[in-house]
């Protein structure tokens, strides 16, 4: 599974979506499609760290790095330049 699909799967399972039949587009703002609570935020950070072997530090914990599939992929790419997409 590619990076985009993997992240989409993660979001579909874990995001507390406002809408029952959620489809998450690559550029969709997940903070508008679902309720991002503390548990989900921690889960998402842990997922990105583990799956892509990167360290998410305080400066990286920015809404703009996690707001959509695109931005998460870009963020991972920046942190880890040899990522294959």
């Amino acid at each position: 599974m590619g990076t985009y699909e993997k992240i989409r799967q993660f979001l579909l399972v874990n995001l507390l979506a406002y809408d029952d039949d959620l489809i998450i587009e690559d550029d969709e703002n997940i903070f508008e499609s679902g309720f991002v609570d503390s548990s989900f935020a921690m889960q998402l950070v842990a997922f990105v760290q583990k799956e892509y072997q990167i360290e998410v530090n305080d400066e990286d914990l920015d809404l703009s790095n996690f707001s959509s599939i695109n931005s998460i992929v870009e963020f991972i790419g920046r942190k880890n330049s040899i990522l294959e997409i």
């Binding site: 399972v13 874990n14 507390l16 979506a17 406002y18 903070f31 309720f35 991002v36 609570d37 503390s38 548990s39 989900f40 935020a41 921690m42 950070v45 305080d58 914990l61 920015d62 809404l63 996690f66």
Partner: protein, 343 residues
């Protein structure tokens, strides 16, 4: 203001600690004189009791039932595991930090084994049990409604977790089925004791690691520019009691969050974010932005993440003291599975 360490859970050995004699050796065991009062009193003070003992689970539980003591112990660990492992299990389930545990055992070897793995635990010898009730660590300053119900609340949590494990389907549907009510209100006089208790007990979801005393809070409540909000939560299993507070200071341009904390028992319901959203909505109505004090305490990373994912940005950093700011341009709606009541 430190040194207010409080024990939240006492873990007991059984043989020759709670009772005289060893079950497996066929002894007719007898409760130590006065031990029942000690356990009941701790329970009444809101301190949890659990067990880490070696032996056969069924036999030991049977004995505890005969003594009518079984109901007081949460998640008893009776097995052949090292006691440090049993205690780690209890700690994980209760989700309270290791340095709030006390371990009572007659054998020095067991105390040393636990201490070597968990140096932050207070280990005491069995014969000390007579002095326990006057030990300052085991005497919370206030006994609130919530402390008296604490064991029951943990048991309700347990039922909730079991149901969640058995529930097939998305987490959202499960949360929906809980029928959660979250009430935010202005703190009243009788909330202050609980508020002080919360500031002392809460570590993971504490934005500043600061503690406020009853008197300090009382003074703040009387001040025009401050607001003290208390949160309460209940669901179909029962009430969680007062589980969060926020202290804010108003100025012309800002609502400044001086203190924000949530009991870790409600972490998985997203209600911390609900409280933040409410504060932001109010600020937006009044044309203010929101600022928040934050300090890394080594334990409150989740609170930091909550702020950052809530669109807060660092505007000031002085060593570990941070001020976060939110321009209230984006505020999350309340989650659909929570019924929120605001002041």
């Amino acid at each position: 203001m430190c040194g207010l360490k409080e024990i939240k859970c006492v873990v007991w050995d059984l043989d020759n600690t709670v009772w005289d004699g060893i079950i497996l050796e066929g002894d007719e065991v007898k409760l130590k004189p006065g031990i029942k009062t000690v356990i009941e009193t701790l329970d009444n003070r809101g301190i949890l009791n659990s067990i880490s003992s070696k032996g056969n689970y069924e036999d030991a539980m049977q004995k505890l039932k005969e003594f009518n003591l079984h109901k007081y112990f949460l998640y008893p660990q009776i097995s052949w595991n090292a006691k440090s492992i049993s205690i780690a299990k209890i700690q994980q389930i209760l989700n309270i930090s290791m340095d709030t545990f006390m371990f009572v055992d007659d054998q020095r070897f067991e105390r040393d084994e636990v201490r070597s793995e968990h140096p932050e635990i207070l280990c005491i010898a069995a014969e000390e049990y007579k002095n326990m009730l006057s030990c300052p660590y085991l005497k919370p300053k206030f006994i609130t409604q919530d402390s008296k119900r604490r064991r029951l609340m943990y048991m309700e949590d347990n039922q909730r977790k079991k149901d969640e494990d058995l529930f097939n389907g998305p987490r959202k549907d499960f949360l929906q089925s809980l029928n959660i009510h979250f009430t935010i209100s202005e703190a009243k006089d009788d909330d202050l004791e609980r508020a002080e208790e919360l500031t002392i007990r809460t570590n993971q979801l504490n934005a500043t690691g600061k503690t406020y005393s009853y008197d300090e809070l009382k003074k703040i409540m009387g001040s025009e520019s401050h607001r003290l909000l208390a949160c309460e939560m209940r669901d179909k299993y029962g009430t969680y009691g007062k589980i969060g507070i926020a202290l804010t200071e108003d100025s012309e341009d800002y609502v400044h969050i001086k203190l924000l904390l949530m009991s870790c028992r409600v972490m998985s319901f997203g209600v911390g974010t609900v409280l933040l959203s409410y504060i932001m909505q109010e600020a937006r109505k009044n044309g203010q932005k929101v600022r928040a004090d934050f300090k890394h305490t080594g334990r409150n990373k989740i609170m930091y993440t909550t702020f950052k994912f809530g669109n807060f940005k660092e505007v000031l950093k002085n060593e570990s003291d941070i001020i976060l700011e939110n321009d209230v341009s984006f505020i999350q709606d309340f989650p659909p599975y929570v019924k929120v009541t605001t002041p």
